[in-house]
Amino acid sequence: MNDWIAIGAFATIALLIPVGMVAASWLLRPTVPERHKRAIYESGEVPTGDTRVRFNIQYYMVALLFVVFDIETVLLFPWALVYTDAIGEVGLFHALAPMLLFVFILMVGLAWAWRNGAVSWARSPQADRRRATNQ
């Protein structure tokens, strides 16, 4: 039997359950729309400005880095899978060395990103300036 049919069936159920809950609640729940109720919550004050502002570019740096590392990591899986068999066939060194080299390259990449501050959370230069004047 194909596993993916079962997974497909599971996905259908996993989709139907939340949708079904929404439908059931639709039958039960009241709807009393009212302007003040619909106001955006901002601690009881009127929101100022647009919510979707331009965020500091550093947020996206982390995301880019993730894409790089994630793909590299996925490349490790085939190696991990055949590793024990490969030791038998080509010996420990030949099985291990390519991975070590690969991980080494990744680590160098990480060190580079680390040094450039790409893996740190965004600090705001404005906020730092403000701090300096304060103290």
Partner: protein, 553 residues
Amino acid sequence: MSTLEEPEVEPDGLDIDAVHERLGDRVLDTEEHINAPGIIIRADEVEETLTILRDEFDFDYLACVSAEELPDRYETIYHLKQFADPTRELSIVVPTDRDRPISQSAAHVYETANWHEREAYDLIGIEYDGHPNLKRILLPDSWTGHPLTDDYNQDKPQVVSYKAHENPLLEHTKEDDGETMLINIGPHHPATHGVLHLKATLDGESVVDVEPDIGYLHRCEEQMCEQGTYRHQIMPYPDRWDYASAGIINEWAYARAAEDLADIEVPEYAQILRTMGAELCRMAAHFLALGTFVLDVYGEFNALSMYAIRDREKVQKLLEDLTGQRIMFNYLRLGGVAWDIPEPREQFFDDTRQFINEDLPESMDEVHDLLTDNEIFQLRCVDIGVLPPKQAKQYAATGPVARASGIDMDLRRDDPYGYYPELDWEVVTDDGCDIFSRVMVRVREVEESAKIVDQCIDLLEEWPEDEREIQANVPRTLKPDPDTRVYRAVEGAKGELGIYIRADGTDTPGRFKIRSPAYCNLSTLPVMAEGDFVADLIASLGSIDIILGEVDR
């Protein structure tokens, strides 16, 4: 016994003649306030005079600014003190014209004057020339009139509009590194400890600018006190300023000011009762401060906040036995306290000793295990929310906030009152200046308070039965002489809680001004939080330990 109440601390070293000599013609006149000599100066020489006093006479502490309306003039009084010796006091009186109440601002000399003068402008209507941001602070911007003036119409309805706040940095950040976002934290937010509104401008997660906006809990406490009689009716109100169990300390602030004003002596036995009650209150208040602070750092399901509440509950039980109420004690009376230790006395002493000597050390060990040694807690709190001592003095921070910035001032020791001078305890200071120090100062202060209570219990137990005088003989109606002025402070749970009273010859005060410690401490928030992350802003706010009832009054 009078030596206990007023240990005749002559302003040693404060050479008032030298001050007069240095100020020269700037001194228009002098007047005598109880505790402090008053100097009257011109309204356009405020900044100059205060700069001289601050730089040359070491008056680095602007304790309070009280403004008032008199029949022929408006007056602003700057109550100056020294952090090194708070008994050296000086009142700078700045009268202004009734028709044109404009006075020079002191905000450039003392940062703390910024908020105080805004409040004076808001409530009295004196305008401060040169003030960086002279707008209303307690009342909404759209308010018309100044409620503490005589011609203010109390019955006129006010329209309070509901509008968006401006982003103060919107203009000059457009071309800068990132766009800033104004986010309103509070008044209805889980971490503002009441109805406080922080206008925070964020760049990403960093706080670029934060401005506390207060007044949501303004209850006209000063005005209510001005309408109550000295003898009875004012005393219930102080309980409601710092309502987080610090009631007896607050009552003591009023009692101390009024007793100075009316020259009442308090029996020694009552002093011990007051001291014990006040320290129990301090413990309860610090427990609550700890409990709510850890909520901000741990999240809402942590155990320590509940353990702190449990310990506070034990203190409250003792206070309930003593005063009959759990929070709003109304235990002090002018000239003493309402009642003695409850019968059977032994029971009360045993309960208290049980708490002090057995329960408390155990829970303190737990606090240290949960907080002090916890690496993640240290990660969150060490070197975060830094308040340098210089800034702390500028903003007149007091209490645990100042002591955690290395400022060694505690009115219980430096301006002694009650029975404190006779007892063996220490002032806790820490020079970490960060959130961690502020929390630790509170934790250690609880231990010091326990020492004080323990000694009080011993004294009370051994006190001869026929000398247990709990109240002095005080007349039913008090009418202090007109135009007597007093500013007196006690060490509240949050810092210096001062009361300024001007008597006008009737049985109610002519002006009643509360110097609230949390108000001044809160104004340091921008120094602590700007440049840090949002999470640090919340932790800093929690570490200041504000009670909005006291901030807004």
